[in-house]
């Protein structure tokens, strides 16, 4: 890589909050026309819950993902820019990487593109985490229970969240397109500037702002592009779409988004500190940011995420309009549950009720639980060790729900308006994030060696 020429800043584009949501093609064209050095694209998170990591299934619409990847590949290859995609397929494990790789190869075939693709794996051998746990080098993220060897064993799959190092290695090896598994969003955008000699704290801070696309602009949206122009000791955030502007407040407000701490944020090699950051309006709908501090860890760390299957779910969905039943919902739910469990005679069954119109969203946190609407929606769910048992018990439950006799009834049977036939719907496996823990690495080299890279010559290769 050529070292960074400080007279010429580095221009990075983020096409949006998540690849696969629908990139704004006009804004991307404007960003390209402004001159770019690298295209970064985030494509996942833990935000959608543990199902995707656990099941290996992709999160996004395939058709829209194909459209979005096509747009950034065309833009990147036309100008010889590296294209770095992180969090492939949503959860970034091997099946997700494979899903996204197939889309890329399909696009390349259809568009006669040729390039070297790096596939950066983030799925982990469980033994590594077991060894770090046994060595006492694993800490839970805030609010997460302490890790045990049993929980690691129980996970369907575990990923590590890579930093900039594997991206840099892939680019140095000649990859024009990097498709990475689970990655720190800061690293997807920060890797190229770091490779060109920009200070890591500044580069990663810029990445944190770009990761959600135009969420850092006014009006905010994750469905539009954002550009960073990175210099030696500051960066400027620019909205390519003329309908948006980037203000000191819009940047600062986004820096605290979806994180526990507003100005201390952990990265594999250190902690970003925004407490001394200053923001300056440039007068061109953009804002300049400087003053990022980076407290380097004595030993690097990697965050691990693992999803464990807790069972299979079947659901019954219905509505109640009978005011006398709405007045007796607690009795009704307790009675249906008790009768179902008695009849089912099964071990390891859980029943759960969500009552929309009463406390469906907030549960025990709901302060207005007594203000029940004139109708309520009932979502009754069964969790069981197999889908067959879950379905069977849900069928029993549905029969209790329609026919349960509650006190003070002014009607007979027919308690619930069900919208579906089938009445019981099987929704598949349910997972839990049993691993959400940070491990201190044994060697700095593990920042790359934990994330092995395959190089693929797509379309005959470049």
């Amino acid at each position: 890589m050529t070292p960074h020429d400080s007279a010429r800043p580095i221009r990075v584009v983020s096409p949006g909050g998540s690849l696969g949501y629908g990139v704004n093609a006009d804004s991307l064209q404007r960003a390209v026309a402004g001159g770019l050095d690298v295209i970064g694209a985030d494509s996942g998170s833990t935000d959608m819950g543990p199902y995707y990591l656990g099941s290996g299934k992709p999160y996004h619409s395939r058709a829209t993902m194909k459209r979005d990847i096509t747009l950034i590949l065309e833009a990147g290859l036309a100008d010889g820019l590296p294209v770095l995609i992180g969090n492939a397929g949503g959860a970034g494990a091997d099946p997700h990487l494979e899903w996204a790789r197939e889309i890329i190869e399909e696009i390349a075939r259809e568009k006669a593109m040729k390039f070297t693709l790096a596939l950066v794996h983030s799925q982990q051998d469980k033994m590594y985490l077991q060894e770090r746990l046994a060595a006492g080098k694993v800490q839970p993220m805030p609010g997460v229970p302490a890790l045990t060897a049993e929980r690691i064993d129980a996970c369907e799959r575990i990923v590590g969240q890579m930093g900039v190092e594997p991206f840099i290695e892939a680019m140095e090896h000649g990859a024009q397109v990097v498709l990475a598994g689970r990655a720190c969003d800061s690293a997807i955008f920060g890797a190229y500037p770091v490779s060109r000699g920009i200070e890591p704290g500044l580069a990663l801070h810029m990445g944190k702002i770009l990761e959600c696309g135009a969420m850092s602009a006014v009006p905010p949206t994750g469905r539009d592009c954002l550009v960073a122009i990175v210099g030696d000791d500051q960066f400027e955030i620019v909205a390519p779409n003329p309908a948006r502007e980037v203000t000191p407040f819009s940047v600062a407000a986004h820096m605290v988004y979806e994180v526990e701490h507003p100005y201390l944020q952990g990265e594999p090699t250190g902690v970003l500190d925004f407490s001394k950051v200053s923001f300056e309006e440039t007068g061109n709908r953009s804002t300049r940011v400087r003053g990022t501090l980076f407290h380097v860890h004595e030993r690097p760390t990697i965050r691990f995420e693992g999803a464990e299957r807790v069972g299979f779910r079947s659901i019954v969905l219905g509505g109640i309009r009978d005011p006398f039943l709405i007045a007796k919902l607690d009795e009704y739910i307790a009675g249906c549950t008790e009768q179902t469990l008695a009849l089912a005679d099964q071990q390891d069954i859980s029943l759960n009720w969500i009552v929309y119109g009463r406390d469906g969203v907030m549960g025990e946190m709901e302060p207005e639980r007594d203000h029940v609407g004139h109708e309520v929606g009932i979502l009754a769910q069964v969790l069981a060790p197999s889908q067959e048992v879950a379905h069977d018990v849900a069928a029993l439950l549905e029969a209790r729900m329609i026919g349960f006799s509650y006190s003070g009834a002014k009607t007979r049977t027919a308690n619930v308006a069900f919208p579906f036939s089938p009445l019981v719907n099987d929704t598949g496996a349910v997972y839990r994030f049993s691993v959400l823990h940070v491990a201190e690495l044994a060697h700095d080299s593990e920042l790359t060696s934990l994330f092995p890279i395959d190089y693929v010559k797509v379309g005959g290769g470049a």
Partner: protein, 109 residues
């Protein structure tokens, strides 16, 4: 005198900060309003615990960031995102109890 929080904010929301935490962002209309509310001391673990009917032990932290005009606090989930019994995979839609929180405002401010 006092104000309802909803009259002082630019926006309010709840969202995941990872699968085990719900983070609440209370973003004020302007810096002066942010400072008045911060200095009122209303955002305490005791107040938040009472408002959301959770034990104080589940209020992990309360932070402020003047550049974002934001006070944010974090509640530890009882059921992690997407696990059986969860009600909000993204941690969204849990901020409504904040709307009518009374913020005492001194007559001098």
């Amino acid at each position: 005198m006092s104000h309802k929080l909803i009259d002082l904010v630019e926006f309010l929301f709840s969202k995941n900060a990872g699968p085990y935490l719900i983070t609440f962002d209370v973003v004020f209309k302007d810096s002066a309003t942010f400072e008045i509310v911060r200095d009122s001391g209303v955002f305490s673990k005791a107040t938040i615990a009472k408002l959301f009917n959770v034990p104080e032990s589940r209020i992990l932290s309360i932070h402020e960031y003047p550049a974002g005009r934001v006070i944010k606090f974090n509640i530890v989930r009882d059921i992690s995102s997407g696990d059986f019994g969860d009600r909000s995979v993204f941690g969204s839609q849990l901020w409504a109890p904040l709307i009518s929180l009374e913020i005492p405002v001194s007559p001098h401010s």
